[in-house]
């Protein structure tokens, strides 16, 4: 599974640059990384690719001292680093440009750049003259003096300028940088700004810095990278030279698992359209049209940030719909708040179950009955017996493993917590159930049970919209796959057309693909 790296043999005395050796990381029962050995040589750009959840973020965090590996070690020029914190990594010369820049809103650029190591005069006063001298020198050295006014406040910066501040933080300081990681740096930049960023990255490479570049965008990677390391399921799926590979090979490296044995779907979709979304635009998504029929499972695929969860929240009444219509069973809805959506027959099991769905200090019974309380009440008094029976019925049906339905939800495992969220909606019997990442953080046994629950729901005639970032799950569950990128739908695939390669191609398409492209992609099984 782990081909040896086709890189030149390391120089004697250990490999130069940043590298990991046998790094594994466990979070509780989840194995995030397994035996990752990969190097980031100086003077080269190494792209790091992988599906959502493949372990890219965890690896970055280990490289930059935010997490400690469970096993294995991080090396710089052959020397083992003992990183306990991001500050340790910074002192060693390892820097990261995070995806979301951390900017202090009310202070000027100069103070943002040197936050934490501001020049001081006597009595701990800020040495403004020295600060001015430093920022002017650094701006000129890096060539940012035309684009970044040091007196602008953090809150006044554009997305690109915020990124520049992070880059300046990485490139300044007492210890010169040896390795710099960019985490999807272009996601909020315009084309012009991307060019400037690439020029800068080229200069860093020429100065002999090891550059780690995390991105999903094929075009960028082929323009920029010398080497490409692909992670899959927390392992190194392969390391290739950019000159020796193509998109097809990368996609094959990123996918290629077989969990199909977990899936038990048989198609039971009817012709009756339950959900009919037409040209819906919200603050986060544009011109979305899709339908879900009774008994049908439709998957929304795409990369993180494609706008899938935002669409789900809008359909559940929690984000305003600016234009377009949402109809349920032929009736156009006015989704002014979640209450209206629930009353109409829409249920949402949101992405972050602890933050958005569960009441951790309350019992399984309380959590299950919450959206059905009015039905269980008379004169607003809850009929305890019926409430108990309802909670018990669904806890049994979904095989929630707990001492009793009076157990507090925080004591349950992730899979059982997710089942409680599902129980809440199953008890309510919605016409449309939206499940956002229903198996995230759930062990494999509970996963299979959740797939079974979804299959049962469809068989009972519920329309199910599943958001999932796990492609095998999408393929195993869905009758139809709708793919989104950057807040728009980029294509729709039937069960027969859907392959991991076809979905990834649509999810990573930099431009909107035409329907013809999709069809040919699906038929030949090749990527564009």
């Amino acid at each position: 599974m782990t081909p040896p790296e086709p890189t030149p043999p390391p120089p004697p005395g250990g490999s130069a640059g940043l590298s990991t050796e046998g790094v594994s990381k466990r979070f509780g029962s989840v194995q995030a990384l397994t035996d990752v050995t990969v190097s980031f040589p100086p003077g080269q750009v190494t792209a790091l690719m992988g599906e959502n959840g493949a372990g890219k973020s965890t690896l970055l965090r280990i490289l930059t001292g935010d997490h400690r590996p469970t096993e294995g070690r991080v090396l710089l020029d052959g020397q083992t680093l003992d990183l306990h914190s991001p500050q340790d990594a910074r002192r060693a010369g390892i820097r990261i440009i995070p995806q979301e820049p951390e900017i202090i809103p009310h202070v000027p650029v100069a103070e943002n750049v040197y936050a934490g190591s501001l020049p001081r005069a006597g009595l701990r006063r800020l040495d403004r003259a020295e600060l001015r001298r430093r920022i002017t020198a650094d701006l000129a050295r890096l060539g940012f003096d035309k684009v970044l006014d040091p007196d602008l406040l953090g809150s006044e910066l554009t997305a690109a300028q915020r990124q520049l501040v992070e880059i300046m933080r990485a490139l300044t300081g007492a210890v010169p940088p040896r390795a710099i990681a960019f985490d999807e740096p272009t996601s909020s930049l315009s084309e012009h700004e991307v060019e400037a960023l690439f020029a800068l990255i080229g200069r860093l490479r020429d100065e002999g810095i090891a550059v780690v570049y995390v991105s999903h965008r094929m075009k960028e990677i082929f323009r920029l990278a010398d080497r490409i390391a692909v992670l899959r399921d927390g392992r190194v799926a392969g390391v290739v030279r950019a000159a020796d590979t193509d998109e097809g090979e990368l996609v094959r490296l990123m996918v290629g698992r077989d969990l199909s044995s977990l899936f038990v779907r048989q198609q039971v979709a009817t012709d009756r359209v339950v959900l009919d979304v037409r040209d819906v635009t919200t603050d986060d998504v544009r011109d979305i049209s899709l339908t879900v029929r009774a008994g049908e499972v439709v998957a929304l695929a795409g990369l993180i940030g494609a706008g899938r969860s935002e669409l789900a929240l809008a359909l559940a009444g929690d984000a305003p719909i600016r234009s377009g219509t949402v109809a349920l069973n032929g009736r156009v809805l006015r989704l002014k708040d979640p209450r209206a959506a629930i009353a109409a027959g829409i249920g949402l099991a949101p992405e972050e179950r602890k933050a958005q769905a569960l009441f951790l200090q309350r019992t399984i019974r309380d959590n299950t009955s919450l959206v059905s309380l009015r039905r269980l009440s008379r004169w607003r008094f809850v009929k305890r017996r019926q409430e108990k029976d309802l909670a018990q019925e669904y806890a049994d049906r979904l095989r929630v493993r707990a001492p009793s339905i009076e157990a507090e939800v925080r004591t349950l495992s992730g899979g059982n917590q997710q089942k409680v969220v599902l129980a809440r909606w199953l008890a309510r019997k919605p016409d449309l159930l939206i499940l956002d990442e229903p198996t995230r953080g759930v062990d494999i046994g509970a996963k299979a049970e959740i797939y079974q629950i979804i299959a049962d729901l469809a068989r009972e005639g519920t329309a199910v919209l599943v958001i999932s970032s796990e492609l095998p799950e999408v393929l195993g569950l869905a009758d139809r796959v709708v793919v989104m990128q950057n807040g728009r739908t980029t294509g729709e695939l039937t069960r027969d057309q859907a392959t991991e390669e076809a979905i990834l191609a649509l999810a990573m398409a930099d431009d909107l693909a035409t329907a013809d492209d999709l069809a040919s992609t699906a038929q030949t099984g090749e990527t564009r």
């Binding site: 979640p338 959506a341 958005q356 309350r362 607003r380 809850v382 009793s404 507090e408 809440r424």
Partner: protein, 346 residues
């Protein structure tokens, strides 16, 4: 209630959940660890002061304690509701003061009509509560700040309308006399009012879907919103309830002292009510708490205060004791949450 337990290991795949059995263990669990320690503390306080002064445990003194605790008890009950929602109301004492002045002045100016006086006070209280809620929800002002402002402003209004002096005399009216000195079935009327209010609020919180929604809002407001609960309606209603019951406390204050008091007797009630709620097991970040626990804490605080007074201990020490208790209650609560000691508490 319970300390954190490790995640349950998956039981053998039986699928079904066992039904819980009864017995003394279940009874103790129903009372709860927090309440048991409160009962323990109450017993200790009674034993201590009882051994120092045998009259402490006499029926007469118990009635004195109960009457003295009634006004702060009423406020503690509604404070509990507001805190379970995730809010806080520091203005309850000032609201009671304004209501006290209102009841006496309207009583006097309407030719000694007690019902108009009491009605006007309750109406003012409800209006102030609605206003507090509106400032918090629509003005987006943090509840602590909004009601801290209210603490100052409503006290000021009470002083303005009363010119800072006690107003009127109400103990020539049978209704006010009944409120202050009357008894029903051997118990003072005031204590009955506390019992009735507490029972009603307890029923609301425990047996109705409204109560479930209140706990849900304080426990996780995002999840509550996504479950279709109208947060604004509930929060504003909680503050309106708080204002109305604070006004009732103000009316009782008028009845007890015989005249409308802008400040005296109501100042400091906010601290007492918050202390009682925190000591009674309310999580200050919301979602947790019970009327039973709060009432036990009210009894404990009342007994402590009375005991210290009977022993002739300087009232200034009682303030120190009250502040210490509030901080201690919250520290214990946070210890149980095992929050990491980094930065400001959540």
């Amino acid at each position: 209630m319970t300390t954190a337990t490790p995640p349950t290991t998956p039981a053998p795949d039986t699928g079904a959940l066992p039904v819980r059995s009864g017995g003394p263990r279940a009874l103790l669990a129903a009372i709860g660890g927090q309440n048991l320690s409160l009962i323990g503390a109450l017993v200790a306080v009674v034993a201590l002061f009882g051994s120092l002064n045998e009259n402490f445990v006499g029926w007469d003194n118990i009635q004195v304690i109960a009457e003295a605790a009634t006004i702060s008890g009423l406020l503690a009950v509604v404070q509990t509701v507001v805190i379970i929602c995730g809010g806080l109301d520091i203005s309850v004492g000032s609201q009671a003061g304004l209501a006290s002045v209102t009841s006496a002045m309207v009583f006097t100016s309407t030719g000694s009509n007690p019902y108009l006086g009491i009605g006007a006070a309750l109406a003012i209280g409800a209006a102030i509560g609605l206003f507090n809620g509106a400032v918090i929800i629509y003005g987006r002002v943090n509840p602590t700040i909004a009601t801290l402002a209210g603490l100052a402003a409503y006290k000021g209004v009470a002083q303005l309308v009363s010119d800072g002096r006690a107003q009127g005399y109400v103990l020539n009216d049978p209704v006010f006399v009944f409120l202050s000195r009357g008894k029903i079935a051997g118990l003072p009327t005031m204590v009955w009012l506390l019992i009735l209010t507490a029972a009603a609020v307890h029923a609301l919180l425990t047996y109705t879907d409204i109560g479930r929604n209140i706990y849900a809002i304080g426990g996780n407001d995002t999840a509550a919103r996504l479950a279709g609960i109208n947060l604004n309606k509930y929060l504003i209603a909680a503050y309106a309830l708080s204002g109305t019951v604070a006004a009732l406390a103000g009316v009782l204050l008028t009845a007890r002292t015989g005249s409308g008091q802008p400040v005296s007797g109501s100042e400091g009630l906010e601290l007492q009510s918050i202390t009682a709620a925190a000591l009674g097991g309310c999580a200050l970040k919301g979602g947790k708490g019970s009327i039973g626990g709060t009432l036990l804490a009210v009894a404990l605080l009342g007994a402590l205060q009375n005991g210290l007074t009977v022993q002739g201990i300087n009232a200034f020490w009682q303030n120190v004791a009250q502040g210490t208790l509030l901080v201690a209650a919250v520290v214990i609560q946070q210890r149980r949450n095992r929050e990491r000691a980094v930065g400001l508490p959540a």
